[in-house]
């Protein structure tokens, strides 16, 4: 039985800055995110973790290499088409939640749905309520996000990332701003969603406890993935 691969990249290169400050941020990174798997990217600060996340999330264009999402190559896509792809196939979770502060929890979850435009206002409200209920915030739909606790805000961000039922969820330090208990709750929630809904999750983390719980752990150094460990296979292999 072959596992579906939702996101694939090969030999991705990315330079940041110009002239003397030019940095080779990604050096031939290759990666595959299969359905139902959770991947962690670990490494020291400045090793290129976030850059990789933004490139995979179509927020930044690679200088070289090849990428495809859900079987479609994205190299030739125009800026608007990339935005469309981001809206349909990708869900983002950020360290600082990045919610619209004046919007309620429900309205925040509806933001990606509004852009997609496939649901009526009533359907969007229902779906947002259902997603928030799924992350344990069913009772706080109408609360302004700035009045929610850090853990609750992160759960709203998780619900928002799932709004358009994306194939891939990309998370940048999703537990970095939470205490230990909330970190584990948030991670367990993500893990459950990935397994139940057959999604792929890539998260950047500094937390070794969280990384250990992932199916795959990719270690980065100087823009390269220098090691990939599989928890399931209990084996390790270097891709460089």
């Amino acid at each position: 039985m072959t596992t579906e691969v939702w996101l694939r990249c090969h030999d991705v290169e990315r330079y940041l800055g110009e002239d003397e400050s030019r940095v080779h941020a990604l050096r031939g990174v290759s990666l595959e995110l299969a359905a139902g798997t959770v991947h962690a990217v670990v490494g020291p600060s400045g090793c290129g973790k976030s850059t990789l996340l933004y490139v995979l999330g179509l927020l930044d264009r690679p200088d070289a290499g090849w990428m495809e999402i859900d079987g479609s190559p994205i190299a030739q896509l125009h800026d608007d088409e990339l935005a469309q792809k981001r809206n349909e196939a990708l869900g983002f979770i950020f360290q600082f939640h990045f919610l619209m502060e004046d919007f309620t929890a429900q309205e925040n979850v509806m933001i990606p749905m509004r852009r997609l435009g496939r649901l009526s206002e009533h359907e969007m409200l229902d779906r947002a309520a259902s997603l928030l209920d799924g992350v344990g915030l069913g009772a706080k739909l109408k609360r302004a996000s700035r009045h929610l606790s850090g853990g609750e805000q992160q759960r709203v961000a998780i619900a928002r990332a799932l709004a358009n039922d994306p194939r891939v969820i990309l998370a940048d330090e999703p537990t970095g701003n939470l205490d230990t208990e909330n970190s584990h709750r948030a991670f367990e929630l993500l893990q459950k969603i990935v397994q139940e809904r057959n999604k792929a999750l890539l998260l950047v983390t500094h937390n070794p406890l969280i990384a250990e719980l992932c199916d795959w752990v990719h270690t980065m150094e100087d823009g390269r993935i220098v090691g990939t460990h599989s928890r399931m296979a209990n084996s390790s292999s270097a891709i460089v």
């Binding site: 933004y54 927020l59 930044d60 981001r86 983002f92 360290q95 004046d102 330090e173 500094h206």
Partner: protein
């Protein structure tokens, strides 16, 4: 509701104070523009109405004789201005009834009145003045001009029934201390003053008319002015006074008489009104421009304060166009609300100004501010506001659309 509009509404709701301040700028700019245009055009319209009403929309004057038999009419029937300079004027109109008969065939002509005009001395008590005598056929003249409606004392019927009576301009009556029933003396050719009873006093509203004009029957004027002809000019009332210059050129060519439209006759005064309107429009447009600067500042600050939200939206799949639309919609809502409220306030201001009493006794006669209710003032004010706000919104909107979400997200990463 489209997503950018929804988000724009939410952003505006979040920055109510800035929104209200921007709105106030547009509202005041639009309202001042409308009110000032209404006033300047109000005075201009009153002047035009008065001058057309008292002296006709089009006047055919002296006969023109062209040297060397150069016909002023071209082969296509057009009037040649080249030969027009080689002309000589012959006083009086000898064939006035014929000209009036032919002119009536023109669909633009409503009616016409022949006038024998001349200057002479007038005396009343110890006061004397030089007056502008209009010898008229009462029936034709009352049809062609607003003289009947301009009477502020006495009656037109008395004038019609008494061939030796006169109507005196209101300011002339004031300066000579005359009223209906009193007598004015007009200098006859023999050097003697003849006495005429005043049966009515007319006020056209134009100072230059009311200060010198006296109306008499044609035969009286012919005697006093000692003219062999019964008309020195023919006044025409037109369906559309704006057509006067074009019709004047046709009449000049057709009748070989000088023809002068009210626009040519009042060119100096019209230029003055136009200059005043332009000056007022420029001044008030600056207010709208300043409101535009205010909106530019508010939206620029909004873009800077929403950098995080812009990055969020971009990461959620919103396009650059969506982001710029959010800020353009904000500008559009300020412009629309500002124009609607500004038009309402402008109408109220205009109405309020029209009630303010003033005494104008110069070029015009008015007892209160004169205003014109013209929908075009509202259209222009709205267009100006829309253009100013669009320009003010465009730059911040472009800036927002050009923002790189990665820069914001990276700046927030651990």
């Amino acid at each position: 509701m489209i997503p950018p509009l929804y988000i724009a509404l939410r952003f505006l709701n979040h920055r109510k104070r800035a929104f209200v301040l921007s709105l106030c700028g547009v509202v005041l700019g639009v309202a001042f523009f409308i009110c000032i245009q209404a006033q300047t055009q109000g005075f201009a319209d009153h002047f035009i109405e008065s001058t057309v009403g008292s002296s006709g929309a089009l006047v055919v004057n002296s006969r023109v004789q062209f040297r060397g038999n150069n016909l002023p009419v071209g082969p296509s029937g057009s009037f040649s201005s080249a030969s027009y300079s080689e002309r000589r004027f012959l006083e009086g109109i000898s064939n006035a009834p014929e000209i009036m008969r032919v002119a009536r065939q023109f669909p633009d002509v409503v009616s016409s009145s022949k006038v024998l005009r001349g200057r002479l001395s007038a005396r009343a008590g110890f006061e004397s003045a030089t007056v502008d005598l209009f010898g008229i056929d009462p029936q034709l003249h009352f049809q062609t001009t607003d003289l009947g409606r301009q009477l502020i004392a006495g009656s037109a019927a008395d004038f019609r029934s008494n061939p030796n009576s006169v109507i005196v301009g209101s300011r002339l009556a004031e300066s000579l201390q005359l009223q209906t029933g009193s007598v004015i003396q007009l200098l006859a050719p023999g050097g003697e003053y003849r006495r005429f009873p005043i049966v009515a006093i007319a006020r056209s509203g134009v100072g230059a008319v009311d200060g010198v004009r006296i109306y008499s029957h044609t035969r009286v004027a012919q005697t006093l002015l000692n003219k062999p002809y019964a008309a020195s000019m023919i006044l025409f009332k037109l369906r559309d006074p704006e057509r006067a210059p074009a019709l004047g050129r046709q009449f000049a060519a057709l009748f070989e008489h000088e023809a002068e439209s009210w626009q040519e006759r009042e060119e100096g005064n019209l230029q003055l009104f136009l200059t005043l309107r332009m000056s007022a429009a420029i001044t008030v447009a600056l207010v709208i421009l300043l409101a535009g600067f205010g909106i530019f500042n508010v939206l620029t600050m909004s873009v800077l304060s929403k950098v995080k939200e812009i990055a969020i939206l971009r990461s959620m799949g919103y396009r650059r166009g969506d982001i710029s639309s959010i800020f353009l919609w904000q500008g559009a809502m300020i412009a629309a609300a500002g124009a609607a409220l500004g038009c309402t306030l402008g109408a109220l201001l205009t109405w309020g100004v029209s009630l303010i009493p003033i005494q104008v006794r110069g070029l015009l006669y008015a007892d209160h501010f004169l205003v014109a209710w013209d929908w075009r003032h509202y259209l222009w004010a709205t267009l100006l506001a829309l253009i100013a706000v669009f320009i003010a919104s465009y730059v911040p909107a472009r800036r927002a659309a050009g923002m790189q979400p990665v820069a914001t997200l990276r700046g927030s990463s651990a």
